[in-house]
């Protein structure tokens, strides 16, 4: 803590979309309270800090560090190791840092396939010379280096020890503020393994107010072809809602407005593999009757892997390294 009694706080953004940085601002007018209780000592998104500034701090100098995003390249790994040493409490903030998030879906492809798509194939690419970024380039002024691309997206816990995990894409603002306030008050431990906070120990289904009629699913639907009946469980109506296989804490925001849960809070308490959880649930819920119909219903699901592991591939059992190139 600073001499003025304020928390020393850092925020960093690695392999993620940047929405987590924005979600910190979603605390609204509490941002003024935040300025009352914390000094920002590192937050590249909002102010001009250099890595050298952080490297100059004493170890454990930052009281609190919100790290969002997974680890995809050597620069991100370097920064997270640096911040781990400089932070008393390191928080894996948001689903990318917690479970890999959307970027981890790239683990279904090899590095070559990813480069092929990003630098050659995509329709908007204009790269006639076929140039790809090289980690090292010899130039007249010497060797230039850029960060190395890793074969897989890693969650934060794969690289460093994490004190808290706040899941969510993005985490809910109220929970974020409560967390900051709790840590500022000194009422909670500064290290807590990788305990999940800002969420609860139930599933999204538990928080969802929609009526469960205890019926099995006759037919599967997708949002663009189907208007669900208000007030009735979306999964029972045939939308692949991930609520039963997702940790609660958001207040069932999506099902509340008629959208299926996409699973952004990660695996439910007691489960490691979110995809296995939903596959287990669907086995009990699909009303197939015959084996032929079961296979038909399964074949109708568009992109099961992307649906079941949308946010948590980096914390799944198999994780799927890119090396062999799983999916084409």
């Amino acid at each position: 803590m600073n001499a003025n009694g304020k928390l020393r706080m850092g925020v960093y953004w690695a392999s993620s979309c940047g929405g987590c940085d924005i979600s910190l601002l979603e605390i609204g007018d509490k941002i003024l309270d935040l300025a009352q209780i914390a000094d920002i000592l590192f937050w590249p998104c909002v102010a001009d800090f250099k890595y050298a500034d952080v490297a100059g701090y004493l170890d454990g100098y930052l009281d609190l560090c919100f790290f969002n995003g997974g680890i995809r390249n050597s620069e991100q790994e370097q920064v997270v190791r640096l911040l781990r040493n400089k932070s008393r409490t390191l928080i894996a903030y948001g689903t990318c840092a917690a479970d890999g998030g959307i970027p981890a879906l790239a683990n279904l492809y090899s590095s070559e396939e990813i480069f092929e798509a990003s630098y050659h194939e995509n329709p908007s690419i204009d790269n006639e010379a076929g140039v790809e970024p090289q980690p090292e380039v010899e130039t007249a002024i010497g060797t230039l280096e850029i960060p190395r691309f890793y074969p897989a997206v890693l969650k934060l816990r794969d690289v460093v020890e994490v004190d808290y995990v706040i899941p969510g894409c993005p985490p809910q603002a109220d929970d974020v503020w409560e967390t900051i306030a709790a840590l500022a008050s000194g009422a909670v431990p500064v290290h807590a393994g990788d305990a999940r906070i800002g969420c609860n120990n139930r599933s999204v289904c538990d928080e969802c107010k929609r009526e469960k009629r205890e019926v099995k699913i006759k037919e599967l639907h997708r949002h663009h072809e189907f208007r669900p009946e208000p007030g009735w469980c979306l999964l029972e109506q045939g939308l692949l809602c991930m609520g039963s296989a997702t940790r609660g804490g958001c207040g069932a925001l999506c099902p509340k407005v008629g959208m299926r849960c996409e699973g952004c809070y990660g695996p439910p308490p007691g489960a490691t593999d979110q995809g296995a959880s939903i596959m287990g649930a669907l086995g009990a819920l699909l009303d197939a009757g015959t084996e032929a119909r079961a296979q038909e219903m399964v074949a109708e699901i568009a992109d099961p892997t992307g649906t079941f592991y949308r946010f948590s591939l980096a914390s799944s059992r198999l994780r799927v390294s890119s090396d062999r190139g799983g999916r084409r």
Binding site: Q78, D158, A299, P304, T305, V320
Partner: protein, 168 residues
Amino acid sequence: MDATELRVEPALDTQTAWEPRIVGFLCLWCSYTGADNAGTARMKYAPNVDIVKVMCSGRIDPDLILTAFAKGADGVMVLGCHVGDCHYISGNHKTMVRMPLLRRVLEDFGIEPERFRHEWVSAAEGEKFSRLVSEMTEQVRELGPLDWKARLKECTGENLGPWGGEHP
């Protein structure tokens, strides 16, 4: 024949001799009894399947199968009662949906379809059991080791790049 000629076979090299390691989840009432049937009838089949007896194929969480692959299995078999024969009436109706679902996911993960087999084996089908085990073993032998543990190293940060383990 000279006695020395009997000893031409080299000692088994444990480093290079690879045998497929397959995990088989078998329901107690039909498939495990079917395997027993194969045993009591002294049928010959490959010794490569490690059998895990479960009360019902409907109890086989996809997580168990994923865990088996993650921990080094080269293949996984799931055997249960034929649809309609479940001791618990509808246990295998759940299996019947879960396994094709899991098969699609495993394909996306880059696990060859031949490494995962889901079949129905009744208590009387010892012959089918021994045939499936031998078929599966040969299929997996042709594919070679899966070695998911090596792949996991990449995805758990065990062998990272230039900054691995170092404080910059």
